[in-house]
Every structure is written in structure tokens, then in C-alpha cells.
């Protein structure tokens, strides 16, 4: 994660690019039955977790909708669907991104990673996942995939963060259970595991 990319700058960037999907709190329909005039190409190929997937994406469809409802990648959670909580955090070209607040078409040329893509084929957990297990970082677990993706982004940018840097790196992810302390313990352990 680029530590210079603050949450505020990120959101402003999303808004400036016209990628913000909805602020009404209503889930965007994933079927795309109505196609506005001049709509973009529907069948697109996107790189998700190292695999190129062909998927029918409506023009107004958010990345979170595509992942969850088209591709069955339900590890990406929707807590607010309006860019507040970070439960839907995924990586787009290594940058942690709220999947609820970006349109799939706007990132179709990017390299998208979700929590499902971290585990090795042989079942070995990613160091962040392993560290979160060892520290029992999750409580209810609903925000955990987002916390993990934010931590992965942080550690790629800064493999040995201080606790304060880790705190900044995960500050866009809310945990209502209040497990922040255990998530930070997990990030610091993950940095040790490497």
C-alpha cells in the first residue's frame, strides 16, 4: 500500500474519477437488465487472483457486486456498500481499494486480488492469514477479509512497519468488535513471518 495514499485522498480520487457507485445504501442490481444507450461493452475479461475470468458486467455494476454475485467470491464482504467500513477491501494493482465504491468497468484492466487468492494451492496460508490465526485477530470475522487485504497491501509496500505505521495502514477498515489491537498484533507477527 502506498502510505502516501491516505483514505481521504483515495475517496476524493474515486469521486473525481466518477467511479463512485452509490451513496443511497441500496445494493446495485447485478443483473444489468436495463442497458442505457451508449453503454460499455458488457462481456469483459478481468484478471482476478491471477486468473482471467470472462464475466457479464453491467455498466453501473460495482466491483463488489461482480465479485460476490457473478463470480461467487463471497469472501469480499459488504458492511456499508458506501465506502465507510472497508469490509470490501480488495487490491487493484497492489493498491487497497473499496470494492463497493469502484465500478468493475473502471478497473477491468487492473490486477485484482481478493482474500480468496491469498492461500496457496496446497492450502498454505498467506503469512498475514497465518499470523491472524496465531494471534486470533478476528472476532466476528466479518471485517477480517478487508483487514487482511489492507495488511497485505501495507506489507508489500513496507515489509517491516512500526506498530504506528501498521495502525495507519489499517485505519480505513472498521472493526465493530473492536479487535484493532489483535489485528495490529497480527500485522506485526506477519511482518516477522515474512
Amino acid at each position: 500500500m502506498n502510505l502516501n495514499l491516505t483514505r481521504r485522498r483515495f475517496i476524493k480520487g474515486v469521486i473525481a474519477s466518477g467511479a463512485a457507485a452509490t451513496t443511497t445504501g441500496v445494493w446495485v442490481a447485478a443483473n444489468g437488465a436495463a442497458r442505457p444507450a451508449g453503454a460499455v461493452e458488457r462481456m469483459i475479461r478481468i484478471n482476478i487472483n491471477g486468473q482471467v475470468r470472462t464475466v457479464d458486467v453491467a455498466p453501473q455494476e460495482t466491483l463488489a457486486s461482480t465479485l460476490r454475485y457473478k463470480l461467487g467470491l463471497t469472501g469480499t464482504k459488504l458492511g456499508c456498500n458506501r465506502g465507510e467500513c472497508g469490509a470490501c477491501t480488495v487490491l487493484v494493482d497492489d493498491v487497497s481499494t473499496y470494492a463497493c465504491s469502484v465500478l468493475t468497468h473502471s478497473v477491468k484492466n487492473g490486477r485484482i486480488e481478493t482474500v480468496e487468492g491469498l492461500e496457496s494451492a496446497d492450502g498454505t496460508l498467506h503469512p498475514v492469514q497465518q499470523a491472524f490465526v496465531e494471534e486470533l485477530s478476528p472476532q466476528c470475522g466479518y471485517c477480517t477479509p478487508g483487514q487482511i487485504m489492507a495488511a497485505v497491501a501495507l506489507l508489500r509496500e513496507n515489509p517491516n512497519p512500526t506498530r504506528e505505521e501498521a495502525r495507519q495502514g489499517l485505519s480505513g477498515n472498521i472493526c465493530r468488535c473492536g479487535s484493532y489491537d489483535s489485528y495490529l498484533d497480527g500485522v506485526m507477527r506477519a511482518a516477522q513471518i515474512g
Binding site: V26, A30, K77, L136, R176, G178, L184
Partner: protein
Amino acid sequence: MAYMHIGKDFVPPDVNGKVTGRIKYAEDYTREGMVYARLLTSPIPHARVVNIDASEALAMDGVFGLLTADDVYPDGEPQSTGLKVLTNEPTLVGEPILALAAIDEKTAETAISKISVTFERLPFVLDPLDSLAEGGPDAYNGGNTYVFRQGFASEKWSADQVASFRAGNEPTAEPQQTFAYGDLDAALAESAFVYESAFTTAGYPHQSMEPRSAMAYWENGKLYLHGTSQSLSALADGMASIVGVPQEDFVFINEATGGGFGQRARANSIPSMAIPAKLSQKINRPVMMRVTRDEETAIGGARQGFQGWIKCGFKADGTMAAADLYIISDNGGKGGGGDAYSAADCISILYQTEAVRFRGTSIGSNTGHRGAQRGPGQNQIAAIIAPILDKAAEELGIDRLKIRQINTPQNGDIGGASRTPFTSAYMPEALKMGAEQFNLEERMARSRKRNGSKVTGIGIGQGYHNAGRSGMDGIVRLTADGRLKVHNGVGNLGTYSYASTSRAAAEVLQMPWERVDIVTGRTDRNLPITSPQDGSNSIFTNTRTNYGAAMDLLGKMKEIAAMELGGDAADYDIGDERVFKAAAPSEGMTFAEIAQKGISLGGKFTGESDLPEELNDFTKISVSRLAGDSLMGIYHDAPHNNNPPGFTVTFTEIEMDVETGKYDIVDMVTIGDCGTVVHPQGLKNQLVGGAVWGIGLAGYERHLYDPQNGLPASTGYWQSKIPTMMDTPAKIKTGWVDLPDPENPVGARGIGEPAMGAVAAALASAISDSLEGHLFNAAPVTADMIINHVAGVTSEAVPLAQNNFRG
């Protein structure tokens, strides 16, 4: 005592699913032919539905049907303040009026936009005191309050009485509810320092991360409901009757829950899950109902706010002689709660007050649904009482730790309205441990020291909640392959208590953890009834049931061994998954052999006869389905009498910026007294999680409503201002006393709720300390309030305001 499992960390079986994203929450499921429900909710705070015209919507392609309150309640809606499945009499913005099912959500939304609902607007009220004033609006159709077993009533004070209360004076009107013990007048007369003030605490929403989405379908006469719950079998028990389906035909599926905090403990606090169930029944298709954040905020529950008055008397030696409380509690548009009573009860217990009087009245407002939220009552008052203790210490010339030690509850004490003895109480040990770890003496030297615009504040807080129930059931089984199955009906909301309480059974049988299977996640796996997982009770309640069931199983195993190998059951011992003669360990049977023999014997060994007489009906259904194919241990837990308390203490240092009203938490140490520690990592999570909630209560969280139209302003995470990682310390230090409770077989008591109260109290104490001992008599104390105080602006826009900015 040397335990094999108790007190040791382990990897709960669901953690892997949480870090890989594989574990499923209700909205993650799909079903062939599934259609989608959307809600039409009330746009106004108080109304009556006069007419619904859905003809255009129902004529649309892809629309399958509609569910209204008339479908759910053909004989009329229940006349109570409880949250309803759907309603024609909304009393808060966002209350569901109807649900419509369609091929997809977009079609459903479009169809809903074509439904014409005619509302009769009714007067609304946002502040209970405005309703209490003579001539003020009532939140409900039958009045402004609900009296148990009597119905709606209208409670009114004279304008002068309300104005006097708002001015900070003792209310004079007759309360709805009271308790008292001791001679209050004499105790106040004996007091060397008496503090009296009005106070407020804010209500605010639970905001669980997972919205209460649900999916339902019917198959072969059975209802399958994928939902969210913090109490798996206890919630299923109640939900079956809300939907109107026999318990044996209801399957509740709930592998994981994205947070609960009180509002997903019981079926009547989350009746919206009945909507997809009823709609699915009506249109004969699987129905998914996704709930938005706004909808979750409206019906997802909220803490009761207080508008109160308190008078405390302290003797010259620091003893809290008297506490007199009068509290108006905000019942919101739906629901209610016993927070005010619990608040007074908490003071009695935490400070062993010699004389207590409580007077309380609950009044509705057309705001969010109220109900139990983490430490309901105890945690609000913790933030109010801590600075009062500090003030008393200052006035009486007593050390701030010492005044808490003088009044501390301890073993042998009684407390509360019921004057019930504790099962055990180690608060003195917790205070001592916390003070040492925090290095209190050295830090006190920094108290109130100023560096530029920053002032150091030191705070001490205490938290309490009663933390254990009884009367529930346990089921464990030994299968033919010698594995132990622990059937556990505790919900999975993130405490891991479904797993940690199962370890009590493994402990009894000295079973390696990898040979234990926890059977949970859906009710057709045949679970015992448990208490709702609220009130910090799970660890106490369900270690008792699992331990008891395992003891029943162990007795049967030894009996079988004696039948096969001779002698009496008492001659046998266990170890290494064998039952053997204590005097001749080589003579024995493996657990698998014992199980196989038990299965062949049948009868009481396999749950087919001789069940405990008091076994709950829910459990009887499960046992009847399991009977015959394994060796079973079945147990009904007899009620216990005394109060198992959960206690916490917190010490904190803050750096207050008196120019901005913001403060940094420099350090925080929080110590739990919850008996024997069963699961250290789980306990640490409860302590740090409770701390984050305490930070929110003390400084940030509150309901806000537009006073003109009654529209909610705090409908999301940021508007509610729940704490983020940047609002909390980078490290919260935790510890625990770890002394056993005699009324629990493994010595355990609960902790989740007091973990919050102690932190809220410590922060309120520290804020006051950083401002020369000023008492705000409020929670939260926001940056605005601090700046106003520093600037000398003492008047609030509306004294004792609820659900509104405080000026």
C-alpha cells in the same frame, strides 16, 4: 489446578474460514430459483398506513409478490412496543412497512417505487422529556410508555416539573419503577460530601458489521432460514414461533454472525428475518432479503439514553453511604429495556453502597429501536459515576485509587437491588494488579500537568455485569470411532465461546482436542437449548452444561466398563482415550470400544430412555433425533442462586488538547476478574474489544436526529462515529486475576460487558482530571463540549437533550 484444556489457547475451528473468506454469513448463500426481496420502509417518524396500492408494481414482469403487515398479522398487530416483522403503525423512520419479491433487486426496487402508500402523519417526538411535558406529543398510538402486562399509557409531568428537571433539580413526579434499601436520609445525613447533579447519557445504534440479511426457503414442509444470530438455538426457539412453524419443522442455519452486541440475542429483537420466511412461503420460491446499512441502523437496535438525576453521599472515610437516582430512559420508537434499573443496581454492587434508592420511568421517542446493548445500564452509569468518585476523593482528601478500594466489592459481599451474594468477587485483586501494571503512583505525578496546549489526565474506571445463568441443557456424544461430539447451541458472534465452552467437556474426558468435534451451525444438527448469548453469560452457563453432559457420559462409560470387565464403575479411571481399572490400568477398553458397546446396549446409554426430567422441549427434539446411534451424555443444569459477577478495572492516561477538545489515549491497562481463564486469547479479545466500545461511549457515539422532520442523521458508521483504529491506542495492555469461581465446574465467569464499562469510566475520569476536575455529567463528552467548557461557554442549547446535538 492443572488442566489439559482450560486456560490454554487453541485454534477455534472457524478461524481458518474467517481468514480465507470461506466461512459463510447469511448473505453468502444462494439457492436455485432464489428471488430477491426489498423493503419499503417508513419515511416519516410516526404515522398510520391508510392505504397501500401495489397494483402497478404487482403487474410488472419479474415481480412475484408482496408481504404486508396484514399478511403477517391477520388478527391485527400485537399492541406492544416490541419491534414487529412489518407494520401499518410505524413509530420510527426506517421501520419496514412491506416487502416485495422480484427476479432481481433492481426490479424489486423499481416495483417498490411504483407502490403508493398513503400515510396519515401523526405527531412525533424525539426527546422523551418533550413527550413527558403536559401536552407534548406521544411516540406511540396509545401513549408514550408501555406498562408491562397493562399496555400503553400516557405519562405526563407538568411543564414546571420538566423545566425544573432540565434545570438540574431532583424530579418530583411519581416514577414507574422503584427499588430501595437502607436508610437513605440517615446515610446522606452521615455524609461528609454530597454530590448532586442532573446527567445525560446518549443512545446510539449497535451497527454490527453484518447487516441483518436473511435467506429462506421451504422444502418438504420444513422452513430453512439462513440468518444472523448471536444465540443459535435460543434464537431459533423464538423465531419458529414468530414465523408460526413448529420447532421440529424449522431449520435455522447460522454458521457465523457479523457482530451482535445484544441485538441479535433473541428472536424478538430481529424479527425481520421472518420476512423472507413468510414471503417465501407465500410465493413458493427461495427469497433472499439483503438489508442495507441504513435499514440496519433503523431496526438494528440502539442503546437506551438516560436523562437522569443523581445524588451521592460519601462519609469522611470515603465510604459511599448513599446513592439516589432518578432516571428517564429513552425507549425509542420500538423496544425498550431495563437499563435504568441495571444502572442503579450496578452502583450498589460496584461501590457496596449502604443505602440506595432508584426511581425510573421509561418514555418513548420516535427514534431508533431500543434494546439491550453491551452492558445495558451498567456501562452508561459507569461513565457518570467515575468522575463523581474522583470529586469525592478530592473533596475528602483521599487517594483516587484508595476511595475505590474502600468501596470495592469482594468475596462474601452482597449487592444490588436483590441483595444477592456473589459467587465470588476479586475486584480488590484486580485493582491492585492494574495499579501495579499501570505504575499508577508514578503516573499520578503527571496528573493535570500542562505542556503547551496539552494537559495530562489520569483515569480509573470499574465495570460490572452479572455474568452467568443456569437452567440450560447439554448434549455430548461418543461415536463408534471413539470421537467426542459436543453439540453446542451457543451462537458464533466472535467470542469463540461456542468452542471454549466445549472444552469443558473435553477436559472432563481428557480428550485430545483433535479428537473433538463441535457440532453447531444449524439446528438440524440437533443442538441443546442454551441461554441467549447475552449478558456475558455464555462461559459460565455453557461450561456448566457441557461439563455436566460430559460427566453424565463419563459415568455411563465407567458403567459399561464395569459391566464388561467387572467391579464397580467407581473402580475405573480414564486416560489416553481408554477406560481402565484404576488398580490395574492394563485392564480396560478404548473409548471406541466403550461407545460400540453402549450403542449395542441402547436405552439410557443412547438417549432412548431415562432422560433428565427437566430437559427443555427444544433439547428433547434434538435428543430424540440423535437417540440410538451413539453413547450419549445428557444434562439439565439446575438453577444456581448467587450472582456470578464479571468485573473489570481500567487505568488510563490521556493527553488532552484544550485548544481542540481532542485527546490522545497515551496508555491503557485493563484487568478482568472473570474467575478461571478458559481461553486467554478469547479473553484478551473481549477486553480490547470492550475497550474500543468504552472509548466510543465515553467520547463519540450518539444518536442524532433532525428536529424538524425527525429524520435520522447518524445512519452509518461515520455519522454514528464508532471508533476507528485511529481513535484507539496502538496498544491496549490487558491482564486478568485468574482465580476460580466456586459455582462453575471450571471456575469461570463472563467478562464481555464490563470490559466496556471500565474503559468508559476510566476515560470519563481522565477527561475530568485533565480539566481540573470538571464534571460534565454526560456521556459522551465530545470535543465540542470540551471546547465550550474551556471557553467558558457553560449553557447547552437544550439542557438534558436527547437524540440531538448538545449545543
